[in-house]
């Protein structure tokens, strides 16, 4: 037996690896689902924001691996995301097995445009089969395609499929397995002389440097370099072949572009070839009447009805992620609370209990609580996307969003971010344009999410006077609205900055296909929810868990022995006081058994039926309440002092000079540090540091305590100015581990989350500083 690892990571009995490639909206993913079932693996590529899915299909001959590549209109590689398709087909991507063949998915309703990509793929030296989808829809529109003619024209088998009904799948797989074994002469498209010459010359250059490139160059590589010009591919080749290559390349391209742009030459040659193909194999009978899609669009993109429908749909979406998810979120919260309580009760007081209950269960629970919002939102998005409505929503909103250098596609991710930035950022996947997607992701945390609400509620309740202005507006309501508005107001210049400095030279493009309306497929929607939900839970279980544990440990350690001993003594004293007060009662009531334990004597007396027993009961209860109250107070004080002497507390004192200009003291600074994993943690931390147990944002006592909190000089800690400064900070900061972790996953790099954190924290600091100074000046 050989212990050599196989170069391609596929099962031993594997028949082959096949990539699926096609335009968006062709039913490619449906076909992939029908071929492979629900057991799919998602593969991410380094440096890009798109992903591929891997699945298996078992046939009589063995098992085949299918790779679902992102939908694209062309193999041109102007951005790293677009580069993935060609790289994957040529087997140059790490973690993705090299395909033995490619399945080109072609939509029969727009054959010409679909054949553009197909013709690019057929130019590769790779076995290929064409899956023809939407044949029934095309026929209803009077488009008939002669499959055999088309197959002959393309030089590759063409198989009509209906994936939802499972028709044509067997034939498709059989065709794939057959072509994988025989070489196919690559398609030759006759480009104009200047382009052909340039491609030949660049190919020769590449071939002479093949060793330094690390892969075997092909004609398509040279074609892409000549046509696409500057982009990730050119940079990659330049890096390996050096500046000499670049200058020769530039002059080759220059001379090829003298009369017409290379992209025009390519498109004309390709569409010229396609016109010949489709003339031979397609018959169109003019249809009278309108299609379903046209009729639906007559309403859904209508000036009045379309706008109305849009408002209703968005209202429903917003309502669902805000209100409908709250019972589920409450359920998860109490579930985690109960779990923590149950585990806590079974463990002795100590670091292990703290770690399990506060660190792990509290930390993960605080993130998993967003799962209902994520699932509901993704259910909405998946259904709307499947239906074809998402592109219409983008069509309706684009004009508005374009004013902020975004596109219509950014609207729903940003709207969802008002509930939670995590699903918002995940929802930005639907934006094809990379720069627009990155900008949308960057802006998502600026929308005031539901986790900020507890902070606003607490601060507004405590420091904004409850009075009406101009007769009918509640001042507290205005401040809350202003907090929501602050995020949007900050997002507008941020969008400009991001595109001006971090995505240089980008102009947001729209160019969107409006596909035909289709019925949503429940299975596909369910699968999307399962994958998205799973990805989020896995993240909560890893990076977010780690962050929660670190913050918990910083707030827990070191347990100051002096503090612990001092409070143990105080507790002992309290119990002593309790016993002596009972002894006094025993004396005063003249109870028998004075020599015994006063508590036992009191209990025995109280259990009886007499006047004396009544009095004993009253006194016993009073003494016990007294003791309980004192113990709770001591516990709270102890937690507060332990927190103050913890590493986190020390860090709070360390940063006090930094947060002082915001009107904060070390306690607010520390609570802010502690709320790095999640903003709402600040409420609980403030409660602990101000010696309260069990608080939430509605708790009257925390409000009172905050109002009464003093500075060392005796002045009040919190004024309206401080409260506003805290709120502004939390409106603009990026204090959310889940958001940053999601950003890292969706942008496939740490660059964006780090940039976001640094930018938002600086912005939050400056805004809080300005607000505090202005409000204080106004107060005095």
């Amino acid at each position: 037996m050989s212990s050599q690892p196989s170069a391609v990571r596929t099962p031993a009995e594997s028949v082959g690896v096949f990539a699926l490639l096609g335009n968006p909206n062709t039913g490619k993913s449906t076909l992939f689902g029908a071929l492979t079932g629900v057991r799919q693996k998602v593969a991410n590529f380094p440096g890009v924001t798109v992903e591929a899915k891997l699945g298996q299909r078992t046939t009589a001959r063995g098992s085949s691996t299918f790779i679902d590549l992102p939908g694209t209109y062309s193999l041109a590689a102007r951005s790293p995301d677009e580069r993935v398709a060609l790289q994957a087909l040529l087997g140059r991507l790490e973690g993705i097995p090299a395909p033995h063949g490619v399945l080109i998915v072609v939509d029969a309703t727009s054959l010409d445009r679909n054949l553009y990509l197909a013709s690019q793929v057929l130019e590769l030296d790779l076995p290929a089969v064409v899956a023809l989808t939407m044949v029934d829809v095309a026929e209803r529109r009077g488009i008939e395609i002669d499959v055999e003619q088309l197959s002959e024209a393309l030089g590759a088998p063409v198989v009509p499929v209906n994936a939802p009904r499972g028709e044509g799948l067997e034939e498709l797989v059989a065709a794939l397995e057959a072509v994988a074994e025989q070489a196919r002469p690559p398609l030759v498209i006759s480009y104009a002389e200047e382009l052909r010459h340039a491609v030949d010359t660049v190919l020769a250059e590449l071939e002479s440097g093949a060793e330094r490139l690390g892969w075997t160059p092909c004609r398509s590589d040279a074609l892409r370099l000549v046509v696409d010009g500057d982009g990730p591919f050119l940079s990659e080749v330049e890096e390996r072949l050096g500046g000499d290559f670049l200058s020769r390349y530039r002059s080759i391209r220059e001379s090829a572009s003298q009369e017409r742009a290379p992209s025009l030459i390519e498109a004309q040659a390709r569409y010229g070839q396609i016109a010949l193909w489709s003339r031979g194999c397609r018959r169109v009978t003019e249809q009278t009447g309108t299609t379903w899609t046209e009729r639906i669009d007559g309403v859904l993109t209508h000036k009045l009805w379309g706008s109305l429908t849009f408002v209703v749909v968005m209202g429903l979406l917003f309502q669902s992620i805000f209100a409908w998810s709250s019972p589920l979120m409450d359920g998860i919260e109490s579930l985690f609370g109960a779990l923590g309580g149950w585990i806590g009760a079974g463990l002795p007081e100590g670091p292990l209990r703290g770690l399990l209950v506060d660190g792990i269960i509290g930390g993960v629970g605080g993130v998993v609580v967003f799962l209902p919002q994520i699932l509901i939102l993704f259910c909405f998005i998946a259904v709307l996307e499947d239906l074809g409505y998402m592109t219409r929503a983008a069509f309706l909103m684009d004009n508005l969003m374009a004013k902020f250098s975004l596109s219509g596609r950014s609207f729903i991710p940003l709207l969802s971010s008002f509930a939670c930035a995590v699903p918002g950022i995940m929802g930005a996947r639907v934006i094809e344009d990379r720069a627009t997607r990155l900008t949308t992701i960057f802006l998502a945390p600026f929308m005031s999410c539901s986790a900020r609400l507890p902070v606003y509620t607490l601060m507004i309740g405590a420091f904004v006077p409850a009075r009406t202005v101009w007769g009918f507006l509640e001042l507290q309501g205005i401040v809350l609205f202003a907090m929501y508005f602050v995020g949007i107001a900050a997002a507008v210049p941020t969008a400009w900055l991001v595109q001006r400095f971090w995505l240089k030279g980008h102009r947001s493009a729209f160019l969107l296909e409006l596909p035909s309306y289709k019925m949503p497929r429940i299975k596909a929607v369910a699968l999307t929810l399962w994958q998205r939900g799973g990805a989020f839970v896995r993240r909560a279980g890893t990076i977010i868990l780690a962050v929660s544990i670190v913050v918990w440990a910083l707030a827990y350690f070191p347990r100051s022995e002096t503090v612990l001993e001092r409070f143990e003594t105080s507790r002992e004293q309290a119990r002593e006081t309790y016993r002596s007060s009972l002894a006094t009662s025993v004396q005063e009531l003249g109870l028998p058994g004075r020599e015994g334990d006063p508590e036992t004597v009191m209990e025995e007396t109280a259990a009886a039926e007499s006047d004396q027993a009544d009095r004993a009961r009253v006194r016993l209860k009073a003494a016990r309440d007294n003791l309980d109250g004192r113990l709770v107070q001591l516990d709270g004080d102890e937690q507060g002092e332990l927190l103050a002497t913890s590493y986190l507390g020390r860090a709070g004192r360390l940063i006090e000079p930094i947060v002082e200009p915001l009107g904060w003291d070390w306690r607010i600074g520390m609570a802010t540090l502690a709320s790095f994993p999640a903003r709402e943690v600040i409420v609980a931390t403030l409660g602990t540091i101000f010696h309260l147990s069990d608080v939430d944002e509605e708790s009257e006592s925390l409000r009172d305590v905050l109002r009464d909190a003093k500075r060392p000089d005796g002045g009040p800690l919190f004024t309206l100015a401080t409260g506003l400064s805290v709120m502004i900070f939390f409106a603009l900061c990026a204090q959310c581990a889940a958001t940053l972790a999601t950003m890292r996953r969706e942008t496939a790099s740490w660059r964006w989350p780090l940039l976001s954190f640094a930018y938002m924290t600086s912005l939050a600091y400056l805004a809080a500083f300005a607000v505090y100074q202005i409000a204080r000046a106004a107060e005095s």
């Binding site: 309703t109 992209s263 379309g306 069509f395 684009d398 969107l512 296909e513």
Partner: protein, 80 residues
């Protein structure tokens, strides 16, 4: 403002033939790939309620593009 003789200036329902596709390299290439190339006929189906973008019927499918993007497509109007 829209430049006469471009796709951006075409009114809803009007048909036209593409003469030339300009714009920066990326936009030009994307339009060409999507089938907006010289000699092709297209039709403006509608505009969005806010006046922009446009919906254009081209090569048997619906393409939505902004007026600023349609500006780079020079056309000759066709009569019905």
């Amino acid at each position: 403002m829209t430049t006469p003789g471009t796709l951006a200036a075409l009114s809803v329902g009007a048909r036209a033939r593409v003469i030339e596709v300009g714009g920066d390299e990326r936009l030009q290439q994307r339009l060409l790939e999507l089938g907006v190339l010289p000699g092709i006929e297209l039709k403006v189906v509608r505009t969005a309620p806010l006046g922009d973008p446009l919906e254009v019927q081209v090569m048997g499918y619906s393409l939505s593009l902004r007026r600023s993007e349609a500006e780079v497509v020079r056309i000759e109007a066709l009569s019905e």
